[in-house]
Symmetry: C2
Subunit: 340 residues, 2 copies
């Protein structure tokens, strides 16, 4: 899949067939987010995307495991109905069967490494947030790894969500993973513009995956209150207060009120679903998840195809510029072999 | 100061005149760390560095403010003598007077923005960790900004250390700062090799500053137990347990035992000084600060001059390679003006 600009799948609303198709048509790689969609909705999304473009695109699937989670106490303290908390595998098996039958160019997994990693007609990508995950995914046969740095918006793709972990920034993670495995890497997290794409390509990535950068495109189904927050310089933070799984969003009242929200995914996701849906509809930006990466203030409200072309031009210019500047700012090339 | 490879000042031991001189002699920019040195020691360090090299080098100075800090309770719980906790401005005025008289090529500040920013014969750089700090430093007349991302080892250069802040990764921070100010930027945090240097140059930085990458050089005064930890894949974390100021180090028993250490710099630094000195001497890696950036496992134990040349070669290769790969992986250049 030789496309350097990849649109990140953004489950829970923003990703649409129109966005994926526009990105792919412009020479990027668009992604559908199968997460939280029913199988019937995914069938429709696939058909709609294929209707809009003949170009390759990807589909992202959640691969989380069952962990014991008790969110009753949190539900009570947050004033939510504990009965709405439930576990779900997000219809993993049915979605995989559908994608095997009607394969997109790429199927990517997040939240875990399926065991065994399915053999599909598609390229299979696995999201990793650390070196151990990268080694395991490469050993399992992943065609490429999505290397998600600390800066990234939305859920951390880590396979196990645990307290006190210290996620690694995109630049450092890319270097560590590149030294550890020998598969193509797609870098994601904090990439806002073509200079950022140029940066991860220079750091050895085969492609850059951008999510937040596409959130203001008209093709994205980002709700107005979310768009408004993206366009500010408000800080982001990591939180479990919306879904029970660590995710990065623009700081708001719900996050501040529930800094101690427990690990409990997807139970907590379902527990807060109604609250969030109502807040979205009401434009109450303090009570739903404003997922965004750390560079969200740089997102541009332009059509997705235009954004892809702009990013490509910026990437080329950034690499040329760096090459020119480095010529005079680096010590001269070593001509002899190293002397030690 | 047109040198793309900068050696980060590393106070508290590792930085030496020999390291700074070797880096500068090889075409990088070496740095002395004035922090924790007496004025007399700094005089000696400057003389020794000038004896070793005629090339430009920099000196880093602490510019922290006085904050009310009570570390008595921490001292008691940690079994340390509260009487050893004290405040100090690290002889700021005397050091500045010395540097004004005997100016290095660059004087950089960390932990704060001096008010007013001193007018020196040297270039004046200010360390920033966020967009607001960047705007303030540029407005105050800094010649360049050291943009320190979340990945960086050692102390966070933030001007105010506060609970619950969410630091920004190097790649995202560089993009945000570049959009906010119009001064040269030196990127630091998570840069382990030439590919990382190429990455930040592509992202718009004028130079890359590497600290951990130099910790295993024979010219660095890194103690053996610290060197051993650097060469492992052990995770890093942010802690205040050694100095009362947030810093990144390789996780060890002291950090785990004091996750709740208070903000109280430099009182806590002096409080733990003896403990750390004894642990260093005894090779007890669980009781002193193993400062390291997130990509520490990639540090190479080679002489500093060789490392600088190697980094330069890798940087050139990474930029060439990215340029080549991007030619086929990006959509073709837009020839017409954007249509919107």
């Amino acid at each position: 899949m030789n496309r350097a600009i990849v649109q990140a799948p953004m489950s829970g609303g923003p990703s649409t067939p129109a966005l994926a198709a526009a990105v792919s048509d412009a020479g990027g790689l668009g992604f559908l987010a199968a997460g939280y969609r029913t199988v019937e909705q995914l069938v429709e999304d696939l058909a709609e995307t294929r209707r809009l473009t003949a170009e390759p695109f990807g589909v992202n699937v959640f691969a989380h495991r069952s962990d014991p989670a008790d969110v009753t106490e949190f539900a009570r303290s947050a004033g939510l109905d504990p009965a709405t908390a439930r576990w779900s595998d997000d219809e993993y098996d049915a979605k995989l069967a559908l994608l095997a039958e009607d394969p997109p160019a790429v199927v990517s997994f997040t939240f875990g490494l399926p065991d065994p990693l399915p053999s599909l007609p598609s390229q299979v990508w696995v999201t990793v947030t650390g070196v151990e995950e990268a080694r395991a995914a490469a050993a399992a046969g992943a065609d490429a790894l999505v290397v998600q740095g600390f800066e990234a918006g939305g859920h951390r793709g880590a396979w196990v969500d645990r307290e006190g972990r210290d996620d690694i920034g995109t630049l450092a993670l890319l270097a560590l993973v590149r030294a550890a495995v020998d598969v193509p890497l797609i870098a994601t997290g904090g990439i806002a513009d073509g200079a950022g794409i140029a940066a991860v390509l220079a750091a050895g990535a085969s492609a850059a995956m951008l999510g937040t950068a596409f959130l203001l495109c008209p093709e994205a189904a980002t709700v107005p209150a979310h768009r408004e927050a993206i366009a500010t310089e408000r800080p982001t933070g990591l939180t479990r207060a919306f879904t029970g799984r660590l995710a990065r969003g623009i700081d708001n009242a719900w996050m501040r009120a529930h800094r101690d929200a427990p690990i409990g995914y997807p139970e907590l996701h379902y527990l807060t679903a109604r609250l969030r849906a109502e807040a979205r509809a009401a434009g109450d930006a303090d009570r739903f998840n404003l997922w965004a990466g750390q560079a969200h203030a740089l997102a541009r409200a332009v059509p997705a195809a235009e954004l892809v072309r702009l990013l490509a031009d910026e990437t080329r210019a950034a690499l040329e510029d760096a090459r020119g500047r480095s010529a005079s700012a680096l010590p001269a090339p070593t001509t002899a072999k190293s002397e030690t």
